[in-house]
Amino acid sequence: MILLLVIIMVGPFVWMVSTSFKKSSDVFTEAPNLLPISKNTGKLYFTVENFKIVLKYGEISKAFINSILVATSATILNLLINSLAAFGFARLNFPGKNIIFMILLSTMMIPFYATLIPMLYITKLLGMYNSLAGLVIPMCASVFNVFLMKQFFQTIPQEMEDAACIDGCSRFGVYWRIILPLSKPVLTVVGITTFIWHWNSYTWPLVLINDPKHYTLPLQLALLVSGSGSRYNYMMAAATMAVVPILIVFIVFQRYLIQGIVLSGLKG
């Protein structure tokens, strides 16, 4: 029973990776081989031919670079804007603070698809249609992540701040030198989830980008999925390249991330 569950959940990934190493002649077999084994000789082999081909002809290498650029810059911007705001809400007093925060929280109820078209229109007006900037700027902050960071900042004792400020440092100094270095766990969670989100993002690039040279990995992969008929070994090679980096990041940081999932799930 347990074994069956594990097979269903993990099996497709194994199948994806193994297909990506197979030669075309060994992809379509009546009895599926879990490992790339030659039909004729019965020997185990790994070919990187599929990866070479999709990198060369599938424009995957260009898309890979675009995806890294977009996801990295969006993550940095997100960390900066969200943490600045979270610091303001957690540590400073100003009139209207609570009302502003409530309004911000209520915007989380707006579904993405409900604002998709006007968002595209505004991005066009700002001259970012069909550009990598257009993939980053309209997604450069997240109210939910502000909430997450605010909760964390509030747990840092006020004394830390006071002690540092006897020597007289600015508000920005407190944020930059004291709060941020103490907040590595929450910054890690927000950073990685944002990166993964942008890396996987599909709908927004789909409606924004029409020039193949700005295509991100999901756009390029989708072309392979719908276009290649049944060249599954190429498709799986491209999918492996899209999935495996994220899986590794996730596995390395899983301890932090699972905590974050519980929180984000609960807040919806």
Partner: protein, 301 residues
């Protein structure tokens, strides 16, 4: 609380300014504009023409011009009715399984393994399952044939396509699993000990302690899962639309609400009409969210 100085006030506003600009420009303005555009005839290139509630009326009543509006609604509801129970059911089973594991290493292995599909991009999910569902060489059909069943053209047949897609929701039940797991860990062991002393069987304590205590979690998960499944789009688009395919799947059997919205916005250029559909979606989700806040006890936060 000490009264805020003027300097602090200014500093406070400066810190939140970037976020406020972002939310104003990319969240609140589009939401308001969506309502405005929904009352216009507009294709994003020319000036919008004000037509009042005509878009809404046409969508609901003009079955000749928009034959699939009701149909797409019905398809989406069918999808939700399949995907949500399967997703919540399998998430719950996985959580129970992990909770019964005693070794910490094994536990975190399962957690990570079962969560992986969630962080996989929907395009890659579509790619992997297209291969598994392949009617001739797909893993599933080969397996079924071995067991003596007849293979199906899972994604190409109007009778099975929507169900085959809903199964993918089951595969991505990692979030549900993690939240159930947190819920299970939150139940005090004292309850179970007390039940044991009173001579209750394991099944009875599961039925009378575990299930009732998880009710708020289940309710929360149902609402959030319904909201998410109602907006299913990316995987279906990759499988049926991206290559200039039929866009609605075999016999329009996978033409979900967002898919229909996308068609009108980006294939037919009816942005005004699509905004009307967006606004209807927004109201539906708003109702669900309010319902959730009304029914869920406040302590659960």
């Amino acid at each position: 609380m000490i009264k805020a100085t003027t300097r602090e006030k200014i500093a406070g506003y400066l810190f939140i300014l970037p976020l406020l600009v972002y939310v104003g420009v990319f969240l609140i303005a589009p939401a308001v504009m969506s309502l405005f555009f929904s009352m216009t005839q507009w294709n994003m290139r020319t000036q919008p023409i004000w037509i009042g509630i005509e878009n809404y009326k046409e969508l609901v009543f003009n079955h000749v011009k928009y034959p699939y509006f009701g149909h797409s609604f019905w398809i989406t509801i069918k999808y939700v009715l399949m995907a949500v129970p399967m997703g919540i059911g399998s998430g719950f089973c996985l959580a129970l399984l992990i909770n019964s594991v005693k070794r910490e290493k094994t536990e975190s292995f399962f957690k990570v393994a079962f969560y992986l599909p969630v962080i996989t991009s929907s395009v890659a999910v579509a790619a992997i399952w297209k291969w598994i569902y392949d009617s001739r060489y797909g893993l599933l059909n080969i397996f079924l044939t071995k067991l003596g069943f007849e293979g199906q053209n899972w994604l190409g047949d109007a009778r099975t396509a929507l169900f085959a897609l809903a199964v993918l929701a089951m595969w991505g039940c990692g979030v549900t699993m993690i939240i159930y797991l947190a819920g299970l860990k939150g139940i005090s062991p004292q309850f179970y000990e007390a039940a044991k002393i009173d001579g209750a069987s394991a099944l009875a304590s599961f039925w009378y302690i575990t299930l009732p205590l998880l009710r708020p979690v289940t309710f929360f998960l149902i609402v959030t899962n319904v909201i998410a499944s109602f907006q299913v789009f990316e995987i279906i688009y990759v499988l049926y639309g991206a290559g200039g395919g039929s866009y609605g799947g075999p016999n329009n059997s996978t033409l979900t609400y967002i898919m229909y919205l996308y068609n009108h916005a980006f294939r037919y250029g009816e942005m005004g009409l699509a905004c009307a559909m967006s606004f209807i979606l927004f109201i539906l989700i708003l109702i669900l969210t309010i319902l959730q806040f009304k029914i869920l006890p406040q302590s659960y936060d």
